[in-house]
Amino acid sequence: MLGSRTIEDRLREEYFDLLPEIRRTALETETRVRRDLLDISLKLERYERLLITSRVKECESAVDALRRRQLLGAWDEERPHDYSLTQLPDLAAIRVMAFPRQRLLDVEAVVRQTLSSWTADPVPPIDGLAVPLALKYFGRWSLDSRITAEVQIVSLLIGAFWEVEHDAIYKPNPNLHGVMRSASVIQPRDEVLRALERFGAAFEEAIAGSEGSSTTSSG
């Protein structure tokens, strides 16, 4: 019965209508970013890493992300047509992870040019760190596209931590994202991020100050 459909049901239907376009957008974004970063990839030293991952937001994750953007995390049942998953900025998302920091800066310079017309939305620094945790851009490849894509550039260790955190905690239970707004959880999580940054910096310094087969290119 049409009248009894919930807002979530309507959004799930919308998701599967959008899905082919979300997949195409993810593929297009990944391909464009990989092409732009090819020169950097080919010049990497053996110990340097450049990882590019892409993901299509899953249905329940998308519906819950839109709900969390509403006041008090609740739908207004009287206004079902106010909601569309196309309001989400990250239905298709690419993450570029780089090590060491110099490669991260190289990636940032290239991607910033490619995405100059997109909106920059950096993840702000946490206490004790001077630079944003990650650079984020969102935008659309064409005016008629319904899908907004996100490109995120982050250090290898923090990016890897976010992937583990997502797979272990949020993927099975998208509503647990709300827990992360609580300061009692933010504090220990920030300690992990600071430790990863310190570890990355120390590791980088140790490599720069030493020599060995793992630091020389095979070229």
Partner: protein, 81 residues
């Protein structure tokens, strides 16, 4: 949220509901959306927490203010817990 705001809410026995992303205290009949807490200073939060609620109605701090039906649904949910 800044770490210095949560102790104010915890000390006043507010509970965080992560589905609704709001702090509430049944005894005080007050609730704060996480956005309201994030957008206001520590002093503003402290004043809002300490201000007595002499009415029988809940005071819901959320900006922009959601429609009353959304607030009613939220209150029904937390009252049912």
């Amino acid at each position: 949220m800044e770490t210095d705001k949560e102790p104010i809410l915890k000390a006043a026995r507010y509970v965080y509901n992560f589905d609704r992303m709001a702090y509430y205290n049944r005894g005080a009949r007050k609730a704060f959306s996480i956005e309201w807490v994030e957008d206001h200073t520590e002093d503003e939060l402290r004043r809002a927490v300490e201000e007595p609620n002499d009415s029988d109605e809940w005071q819901v701090y959320a900006e922009p203010r959601p429609p009353q039906r959304v607030i009613d649904k939220f209150l029904a949910e937390i009252n049912a817990r």
